[in-house]
């Protein structure tokens, strides 16, 4: 390149979207200070993440979506012009002009003008209530309109359309998707894949209409009705058009640059337009008759130009359109050639209509190579499959292993898969980072965690899809380097949780500070403090407020923090059984302190909106009325849910309520690596939903069946049947051993389900430990649990009787005033916070 020293080349980028930004980032990283850089964007804010735009509706702020703050541009001496529209390019004098009348001359010009939403010419499309889904301003307009609407229709069932449908759902609207083609995501999915996705989305409450062409939008003044070509109609109050994109090539047209017959700025493999000083990248560029509407090819285009500008060699040779995304909680992926079929390929299809999983892989006619495929409902293998396509790796002798896994019951196949990839295999396709780059970065920079890899290589920083593979590569590389791979707590303790528990016990360590002095370094942090607090509580069972500042805020104030900084109060209602008198007390206390009340999922009552200074007074009244802490704030036993059982129910076999109360009172206050939930059902009808709990007990004719390691929440998992037809004493003994073994061996914040999933040997191993005492520790586990049961004391009772502890429940330390920013408004007859 011929940039002379002292007078650097001036590079002007038109467009400050994701790809325009990425160009700047890459240029600054590879040649800091070598070029003069000017960026013009017409939007009012710097580039933001459009890929995750729908997160804006679920609470992510515009700032969080921003790729880099304005200060980043300043620090790197980039002259950033926002809200400035470029109106002309004079290719002869190499000068651009803006709507403000400014003229800027360039040496090289990058057109990263992106695209706008394609709005089909439907009658009535200009009406109020019709939106496009493209910018944060579009979203703000929708949010402003949505309160007036109840039903929304999205025109377009492609990738973006379904994102828009999620947004409509998040705004609380009844949502319809209208697609012209016979299937959803027609560029990515085949008929069967679309079918499966359609079912899943319909289960979530979205109505899908295929083969429908909108002919008119009616309503006065705003949208009220849509008419379709075949004569049907649909009542809606809001429409989001997401029928495709239109490259923003108007500036290029005006400047006389070549554009395609259907739009898009024509570029060659070097991404030069018809003027060699002007490049086009991203969604505005037309390369080999393709417009790439994904971010990864755009980034690769940016990288191509940057490489050339700094004197390297790189051309853009088209890009794989493989993609994986999570649509409204449903994994969908499409890779390689998803549609190729006989006679050019042989396909294997797996379909599980119960779980809603569809997988298709296309194998070359000779059976050697994977050519492409489709995954719906489960796409954990996507990266590996994509690598297998791109690197032409010979597929296993039985290619169905690719989608079903090797069914020998071990999970090593996936890990071995990453390692079998060649060095040049692209792991992060968004940032274009190869396996070799990642592994050498781990070695050269002695990285020890995925965060470090992200920082050094940028891999995993865009869509995040490759992060699990980064973890596998890290573990494998460290192992290869002869380093012991272990899960240490954090930078302050080079020990696992289990090792710390042993240190605490063996050395009789009672405080966090002692542990840090003897076995740690630094000041600690928000990871190790609560983890150690939990260990100390599980070992010594002393009042946690003796070390208040190592507790999470919920434990520090023995209540659950809520929006606005107030807390909620949950007294224990063991087994969900409560007398009318006690119900009245709760009502009286809630009324006296003006608390919002709600029945929880664990069969008790939550009182919200208590200021920190009110907590001791509220609890004093509750404790005096015979209540005790419900530990809803702790990583500890929450509730043991019960059905009504044999006392009342004509189907009940045993007294499930009585047993639930006995179990809940046995383990109340027990601190553990994560929260614990239990359930007891009086018969197989399972009304207590015990099989979704960490431990579930279900009555049988002969006794109790014990289920363990179930989980509700984000990753639901059924509990597994551990032992059958137990008598009450044996059931409790197994529970004692199981819970204590979990407490002693799980990593921090791992629920029992995760713990079991990671355990070598699985439930069979756990049975040997707990039922057959294969480790010879059962007697100890029982003694340790007996100590915890014997030393239980209600934390709130201790606090209300201790003036010094009560004193800590204050918002300010220099005035008795409460937090003046706390505010409530009424809703459905109660108060709720104003944020």
């Amino acid at each position: 390149m011929n940039s002379s020293e002292g007078n650097p080349q001036h590079i002007v980028v038109i467009g400050n979207g994701m790809v325009g930004y990425k160009f700047c980032e890459k240029l600054i990283a590879k040649a800091p200070g070598k070029f003069k850089l000017t960026v013009l964007g017409e939007e009012p804010r710097p580039a933001y993440d459009r890929v995750h735009l729908s997160a804006y509706f679920s609470g992510t702020t515009a700032e969080e979506l921003t790729m880099a703050p304005i200060s980043w541009y300043e620090q790197n001496n980039i002259s950033l012009h926002l809200r400035e529209l470029v109106t002309g390019i004079d290719t002869a004098t190499k000068i651009i002009t803006t709507h403000k009348g400014e003229s800027i001359s360039y040496d090289k010009l990058i057109l990263a003008t992106g695209s706008s939403a394609f709005v089909p010419p439907i009658k009535g499309v200009e009406k109020a209530g019709v939106f496009v889904y493209r910018t944060i301003e579009d979203l703000d307009a929708m949010l402003a309109y949505a309160p007036k609407a109840r039903t929304a229709a999205v025109i377009g069932g492609g990738l973006l359309g379904l994102e828009a449908a999620k947004a409509a759902m998040d705004m609380g609207l009844t949502t319809h998707v209208i697609e012209f083609a016979s299937r959803l995501m027609p560029r990515q999915l085949d008929e069967a894949g679309s079918d499966m996705l359609k079912k899943k989305l319909e289960n979530l409450g979205i109505s899908i209409h295929l083969n429908k062409s909108t002919t008119a939008i009616l309503g006065k003044p705003g949208v009220q009705k849509m008419l379709f070509a075949e004569g049907s109609e649909l009542d809606v109050d809001m429409i989001i058009v997401s029928a495709g994109i239109k490259p923003r090539d108007e500036l290029a047209v005006k400047a006389g640059l070549a554009v395609g017959p259907r739009g898009g700025i024509v570029v060659n493999d070097a991404l030069e337009t018809s003027d060699p000083h002007i490049y086009a990248i991203g969604e505005s560029a037309l390369h080999g008759s393709m417009i790439y509407g994904l971010v990864a090819p755009g980034y690769d285009m940016a990288d191509t130009i940057v490489t050339k500008l700094i004197g390297g060699e790189k051309t853009f040779k088209g890009f794989d359109m493989s993609t994986k995304l999570k649509l409204i909680g449903v994994d969908v992926a499409s890779f390689g050639d998803p549609f190729i079929a006989e006679p050019h390929a042989r396909t294997i299809v797996f379909e599980d209509r119960i779980k809603g999983i569809y997988k298709r892989v296309n194998i070359s006619a000779d059976g050697k190579y994977l050519l492409g495929g489709i995954l719906v409902g489960e796409a954990a293998n996507y990266n590996l499959l994509l690598q297998t396509v791109q690197n032409r790796i010979i597929v296993p002798p039985d290619p169905k292993d690719l989608i079903l896994g090797s069914r020998g019951g071990n999970t090593e196949a996936a890990g071995a898969g990453v390692l079998s990839l060649p060095e040049e295999a692209t792991i992060c396709s968004c940032e274009g980072v190869s396996k070799g780059t990642i592994c050498s970065s781990i070695k050269d920079n002695t990285l020890s965690d995925v965060a470090g890899i992200k920082k050094c290589t940028k891999a995993g920083t865009s869509c995040g899809g490759c992060v699990p593979m980064l973890g596998d590569l890290l573990t494998a590389t460290l192992k290869e380097m002869g380093q012991e791979v272990k899960t240490i707590l954090c930078e302050h303790f080079q020990y696992s949780r289990q090792e710390i528990l042993d240190l605490v016990k063996v050395n009789n360590i009672r405080t966090y500070d002692d542990l840090l002095n003897q076995h740690g370094q630094g000041d600690g942090c928000e990871v190790c403090k609560p983890a150690v607090a939990s260990i100390l509580a599980s070992t010594w069972n002393e009042l946690i407020l003796k070390q208040a500042t190592i507790q999470d805020t919920n434990d520090r104030y023995l209540a659950n923090i809520q929006k606005g900084g107030t807390y909620s109060v949950v007294p224990r209602i063991a087994g969900g059984e409560i007398t009318p008198e006690k119900l009245i007390i709760i009502g009286q206390v809630a009324a006296k302190y003006g608390l919002y009340t709600k029945i929880t999922g664990g069969q008790r009552i939550d009182m919200f909106g208590a200021r920190v200074d009110q907590l001791p007074d509220i609890w004093e009244e509750l404790v005096n009325a015979g209540f005790e802490s419900g530990h809803a704030y702790g990583k500890s036993l929450r509730t043991v849910k019960s059905c009504v059982g044999s006392t009342w129910c004509r189907y009940g076999l045993h007294d499930s309520v009585g047993f639930a109360i006995q179990v809940e009172e046995r383990y109340r206050g027990l601190r553990s690596p994560h929260k614990l939930k239990g359930g007891v059902s009086g018969c197989v009808r399972e009304c207590a939903e015990a099989q979704s709990k960490d431990f579930g007990i279900i009555a049988t004719e002969k006794g109790w069946n014990l289920y363990i390691c179930g989980n509700g929440g984000a990753k639901p998992q059924h509990a597994q049947l551990f032992a059958t037809d137990l008598d009450t004493a044996t059931c409790l003994r197994y529970l004692d051993r199981f819970l204590m073994f979990y407490i002693k061996t799980a990593e921090p914040l791992n629920r029992t389900a995760t713990w079991l999933n990671k355990m070598e040997g699985g439930i069979e191993y756990l049975r040997q430990v707990i039922m057959e005492d294969s480790l010879g520790i059962c007697a100890d586990l029982e003694i340790e649990m007996a100590f915890m049961v014997d030393t239980y004391a209600c934390e709130w009772k201790e606090v209300i009787n201790n003036p010094e502890l009560r004193q800590r429940f204050q918002h300010f330390v220099n005035t008795p005033e409460s937090d003046p920013t706390i505010n409530f408004r009424p809703e459905r007859g109660q108060k709720v916070p104003v944020i």
Binding site: T66, D513, D523, A548, T549, I550, V813, N814, T815, I835
Partner: protein, 123 residues
């Protein structure tokens, strides 16, 4: 007397030392909130280092008045506080977010004299 090195309100810029509260009002290795006119300021006592830090009480992530109730600690030696709501962490020296996000908090110099904690204000 101890104080923080704050790039935005350096000691020399302090026009007024606000007398916040007695040292004993603050928990060890933790924080508490003080009121100064309409402002809420979180004050942290790093007992292990015998150092004091102060910052705005509002977490900029979701605009919650909460940082004083956060856990303190360090990241590679840099003193920090973690917001109890979503565990966003902030340097107590520069106020910068340590999770790589682009908001930051105001920090203030602190000094201790005769058993009282003072916060350095810039009018």
């Amino acid at each position: 007397m101890l104080s923080t090195q704050n790039p935005r309100t350096s000691q020399t810029e302090v026009s007024f030392w606000f007398k916040a509260a007695e040292v004993s009002a603050f928990p060890e290795n933790g924080g508490a909130c003080v009121k100064y006119h309409d402002q809420q300021i979180a004050v942290f006592y790093f007992t292990r280092r015998n150092e004091w830090y102060a910052c705005q009480n509002m977490c900029p992530h979701k605009q919650q008045m909460i940082l004083a109730r956060g856990m303190v600690g360090d990241q590679c030696g840099e003193p920090k506080v973690a917001c109890p709501f979503h565990k966003k962490t902030f340097s107590l020296i520069t106020g910068e977010n340590l999770n790589g996000e682009c908001y930051e908090i105001q920090t203030y110099p602190v000094k201790v004299e005769d058993g009282f904690v003072y916060i350095g204000m810039k009018e």
